[in-house]
Amino acid sequence: MTRECSLLLPRVCAALADPRQPSSDDTCLEKLLDWFRGLTKCDPTVNLVQDNPCLTEFIASVLALPEPSPSILSFTLRLAGILAASENCFQHLQQEKLLVRLFGRDGPLNSALWEDASVRSGWVEGVHSMMHHQPALHFLCSGGGIDVIFTLQGDPSLFVASAASQLLVHVLTLSVESETTKPPSAKDCDWPACAQMIIKRIEDSLQSGSASHIEQSLKLLTHLFGSCHATWTEVLWLGIAKQVESFLMEETVQAQPMLANLLLNMAWSPVFCDTEGSFWALVTSALEHLTPVQVGPLAAGVLRLYKCPQDVRIQALTVLLQPMDCILRAASQPLEYAGLLDESVSDPATVESLLSSKSSCASLLCQTLAHLEKLLSLIHLPVDLPYTSLLRSLMTILQFCNGCLSPASPLGSTISRILIDCFRVQRSALDVLAALSERKCCDTLVGSLFDVLLAYLESPNSSPTVLKKTFQATSKWLVHLQELSCSNSQWQQTEKILKDVFLVLQKRLCSPCWEVRDSSLEFLTVLIKCLRDQEEFRQSLLSSEVPRLAENLLEDPESYVRASAVTAVGHLAFITYFAPESPVLGNQYNKENTVAKLQEILSTDPEGFPRRAVISVFNKWLRQGCTGQLEDTEQFVSRVIQTVEHDLDWEVRLGGLKLVEVFCSQTICQLGLSQCPYAPVTSAVTSSVHHNESLQILCRAKVFSFLFRSLCDCDKPVGQRACDILLGLRSGFYPINAPQHSQGTADSPAGHGMAWLQRTLRQGSLAQNFPTDGGNGVDFQDPESMMLALGTIDLEELHDELNKSSDHVEKSPQSLLQDILATVGTVEENEADCY
């Protein structure tokens, strides 16, 4: 703690304990606790209580108040807990008898204030923070604290109940790990006193027959096995395993939903997953007895495990895939069905009845699909899923949903009636479909898959969200299709599909709904990014109306759409004007026109998104060396930075700086000064001629004026970036030794101007504006002056300063204490007013 803070603290404590003062902003109290937490964490030996007697006085005076406000009392409880985390402070507070008055029977626990949830929450948090040493443990156990915490597990406030459960786990772990010399074993269950107390309570409530007590204990065990992977947890488990197992069959206690979570956490614990037999038998039994909805998370979790017996894995797979299997069966004739699952291991009756009920069908499918999506998103999956059948099942679901398939079988017709127009299922199924594109599926299905996707893209019933997801799935499968057609030369099929896709895209680009136009443009951009090297893709795209429509959308009334159109058009340019083997395009793709349009958006669009999109497109072009020869580029960059330097959006200005950064390094390395990551051409020529030449280019392009002005930008990220670029330039132009800062200022060629520049920057670059014209002598286009500026300004120091104070929200504890003090004596509360 700094001296300033320790001087301020007594007054802050006095103010907080004064009931006549208006209570402080909640956030101030929270931040104060954060500060104390940080102090004890970074030096556990520090005795905050002894060094700052005002803290003890504060606690004592809050306790002495006849009616403290719940928020101050809660704060005091939490503060005391944080302080008592160190054993020294704990002893000190004990001697003063403060801890008993805060956390013991005579404290708030038995007062009317306990009714307030924030006080109970403060109590639990306080105890939790304190539990770091044995004296605290003894204090808690001997004072009946464990009983209080067990009661709080059933607290009406969710926050308190959950915190109590976590506290019990913490206390149990601390007790076992700090109070035993040898780890407990199955034969010798010599638990330390505190742990024994907790374990006994757990066992009792598991046997109590009370649904709420059982639920609380199962939650506690779930937390415990999830967070603690010590071997003693197995010993604990052996004592309660039988009881827990019995809940699987007992419907009266309704513990089943909790069991899946408990078993899942156990399966992830190395303590249990390595065991032979009994644990896995329990998992198998759970997979058999719990309902498909309850057991879904367990099945999906088991499938992600590498260490898991094969039969359990198969069982889990069966559970998870059963609804998908059922869908396939419902849709096909009995004889043609080549199912997902071996019927001998699965009993489809339950799943069938769930799927044929309106209330459960969609939720079971959505849950299954969500689990599948998660599994498919894993790069390494411990099991092989039957991808082809899955794909078929997904297609069936999607066809049920849009009414394209109504099978004759009773089950099939029931399910298809339930699923028709069900957006929830559509969304989930499309997500899985997209994820499945990365897996090896049977290729013969691809044709019919695109039929399904195109039906969705064309359907007027598809909601914007469904359309967006269809676009995502379509783009992924198109990439897959392209790879396929490369390997098996099925060009015709690909061509046909692409043609259909662009036809429907044309329609969607004209949708009255901006969400749809935007998703269509995003889809187009993704396609170009992935497939721009494919000849047939380029052909199909350019022979469609899509490029023209995309350009039209540059004038869309919705700014999001304009921004997406800018991005799409920017990418389109790679296959129109910038392509080396650019096809004959006629007049419709006029490069100058497009650039001019984008420039216009950059300088006149009233909204940030389109302007940001333009600057990012320009960056992309420049990086890929698309902007032409150097002179061309110079003009281009110069024009762009003159446009963006007055932009109101700092992200646009930052984009301009990024452009300058690329331009500078390209210029420098094209002329052979140093290595450049973006250089389109590398040259080995090194000479001072080039040195001057590149400096001149940068000056002509007005790069320096932009950079120096940006140093004084009112938004910090801009200043930081500008400083970084200037540092980079300096190392480019002064490659070996940076010049000394003492090098002439007053008598240098730029004379007064340079001195002024330095002074301005030194006085606090961010406080003042840079001059708007060269009235006082700085000529940003003069290479010599700029060379000198680079050499003389202490950019490192500036860099450090800009980084040191990265925002204007003062986070120092000193400022916090000052702010709390400043509100003291404010009679009138400022009324709430949000934006």
Binding site: H646, D807, N830, E831
Partner: protein
């Protein structure tokens, strides 16, 4: 009883009356789960700024658990966590808000993102793309339009005043309903009208109670005060800085100044520094129907949002001599242009800064509002603040009177107060319970309140049954309830009362007849058939209006009741009468048995 549970969570307690908490409420109604608002807390820059969504459900995905999310209005404490919730936590279901909210929400989110990511090391915050993706999932609704979320769940928006596009929402499943007010205002202000709802008699009204006990001085007074201060400053040649966020308060104050400037014929320039002003004004024009009558009326002659006196600001203007008024972003004076102008002007006592909104601890705005006059900037320079600092609240919430008025309008069966200070809410709660005789709740943050409802469930009755039942007895009388008998069928989510025969037919069931039997012992030494005859004669004499028959097989029937006699196996002098009857003749059956139990009268031949 059907149960409607309400879970209030994460509505942070308003410390010192500063209610900037994260509004986020979960309502479970007839098996449907709806999340109301998804706000953020601007006072934190870590996890605490968003609600902890893991409390919503411990089992399963949020998308599966929640049926929809409803956003009441565009303030960040009501919508600020939405992109985080939908794009980072992974909620993928439907989101509803009004059209203006959908249009304006992303501007505020974007504005806040920009000043947040400006800070170094800012992680776990949503990006521009995420805001867009989130807004694309939003379904916009019209006022008074009944939106069917799914087959059972429907929602409807009502005008709430407060800010442009703010709405109260009615959520209805079957005959159970909840109304959530969000923030609302029962008195019209300069550009918005008053909140209104019809007499929808919801089971529960969830109302904000920010100004639970305050009867606020009229907004007009505060506006006059504001204009006076600005005017005085400008008159003495000073400059006025008003830090604002892009949208909301800024537009309101612009209208105020514009009208005043026009009336007083003032010449000092007014500037608006944010680049978003055009878009903001565009939306106010677009959603003119959401503003109040006065604005709508004058719209034909002059659009209130086309300002004559307010011009775009260029940063070079800040150095111009002479008076001026500048609206600059951001509103807490912690970055960007507003801070830059503040630094230039702070040293002159002629100038003034007016803070119209909440400032987070640590910002320059918070410091000057708490009275600090020497500010350390970036840890080295001391900035002395000589300019005047004023705080002015223009927020439009319902006060105690307004809340009571709304309850009177909607006639809820239960009221639940959120967004307020416990002590003040307690007072209001008592008042509501006394005046309206309804239960009023005020759960703490994170607490669940469960309310039992007593819904009346509509039942269709088949025409055949209705005819048959009305044919029995008197003509129907509207004033007297009539008891009807039939079979209640629950099928395809509807209830129907039909005749038993029709039910059997529709359900394809076979009929089983249930008969009640009873044995009655009679002392009679005669032969069995003689006993039967005596019983027959006795019954015939007593039950004159019923058809009593003596069947050839020796048994007796009275309507559906069957009586047979046998001799007792051990005692020939005792005869056992076996009486059996159907459910329909329950009354007659029990009468008969009690009659027989009394024995047969002497002399019955």
């Amino acid at each position: 009883f059907p149960e409607m549970s309400y879970l209030s969570f994460f509505c942070l307690g308003p410390g010192a009356g500063q209610d900037v908490g994260r509004s986020c409420i979960l309502v479970s109604i007839a098996g449907k789960n709806v999340m109301l608002d998804c706000g953020m807390h601007m006072g934190y820059n870590d996890d605490r700024r968003f609600p902890d969504f893991s409390y919503i459900t411990q089992n399963g995905r949020l998308t599966d658990f929640l049926d929809c999310v409803i956003i009441s209005h565009f303030h960040l404490d009501h919508c600020g966590a939405l992109p985080y919730f939908s794009e980072m936590v992974g909620y993928d279901g439907p989101i509803y808000m009004t059209h203006p909210t959908k249009a304006i929400c992303p501007i505020l989110l974007e504005d806040y993102r920009k000043i947040t990511v400006d800070k170094k090391g800012e992680t776990n915050f949503f990006t521009s793309q995420m805001i867009k993706d989130c807004m694309k999932k939003v379904v916009a609704v019209h006022l008074h339009q009944t939106v069917q979320v799914d087959e059972e769940l429907e929602i409807k928006a009502y005008y709430a005043g407060h800010v442009l596009g703010a709405a109260m929402f009615q959520i209805k499943v079957g005959c159970e309903s909840v109304v959530y007010t969000g923030d609302y205002n029962m008195t019209p202000d300069r550009h918005l009208g008053a909140a209104w709802i019809d007499k929808c008699r919801p089971d529960l009204l969830i109302t904000e109670s920010t100004y639970a006990t305050t009867i606020r001085d009229s907004k007009r007074c505060r506006e006059r005060d504001f204009l006076k201060k600005v005017h005085e400053t400008v008159e003495r040649g000073g400059k006025v800085l008003i830090p604002v966020f892009a949208l909301g308060r800024a537009q309101e104050l612009c209208i105020l100044l514009e009208t005043f400037w026009e009336r007083m014929n003032l010449k000092a320039p007014i500037y608006f520094s944010t680049g978003l002003t055009e878009k903001a004004n565009h939306y106010y024009k677009l959603f003119i129907t959401w503003t109040n009558q006065k604005i709508r009326k004058t719209f034909v002659q002059r659009n209130m949002f086309e300002f004559k006196h307010i011009k775009a600001f260029d940063r070079a203007f800040a150095d111009n001599p002479g008076p001026m008024v500048v609206f600059a972003t951001p509103g807490m004076l912690h970055a960007g242009q507003s801070l830059q102008i503040f630094r230039k002007w702070a040293g002159n006592e002629k100038n003034m800064v007016i803070m119209p909104g909440y400032c987070v601890q640590g910002t320059v705005g918070h410091k000057i509002l708490s009275g600090q006059r020497k500010l350390e900037m970036e840890g080295r320079q001391i900035l002395e603040v000589k300019m005047q600092v004023e705080y002015m609240s223009f927020s439009a919430h319902a006060d105690a009177k307004g809340i009571m008025q709304l309850i009177r309008q909607a006639e809820p069966r239960n009221v639940l107060l959120v967004h307020g200070e416990a002590k003040k809410m307690e007072f209001l709660k008592q008042k509501i319970e006394q005046e309206f005789h309804v239960s009023c709740y005020m759960p703490a943050n994170g607490e669940t309140t469960t309310i039992f409802t007593n819904p009346s469930i509509p039942v269709d009755i088949s025409l055949g049954l209705l005819k048959r039942e009305t044919a029995i007895g008197l003509l129907p009388d509207a004033k007297k309830p009539k008891l009807m008998h039939g079979t209640l069928m629950m099928k395809d989510n509807s209830f129907r009362l039909v005749s038993p025969e029709q039910a059997l037919k529709e359900l394809g069931l076979a009929e089983h007849q249930l008969r009640f039997t009873c044995r009655v012992h009679i002392q009679d030494p005669r032969k069995e058939h003689e006993t039967v005859l005596r019983v027959y004669n006795h019954l015939k004499g007593v039950l004159k209006d019923y058809s009593v028959q003596h069947l050839p097989d020796g048994s007796i029937t009275v309507e559906s009741i069957l009586i047979q006699a046998t001799a007792h196996s051990e005692d020939q002098g005792t005869k056992v009468l076996l009486v059996s009857w159907t459910y329909q003749d329950e009354e007659l059956g029990s009468y008969l048995t009690s009659l027989l139990k009394k024995g047969l009268p002497q002399g019955t031949a």
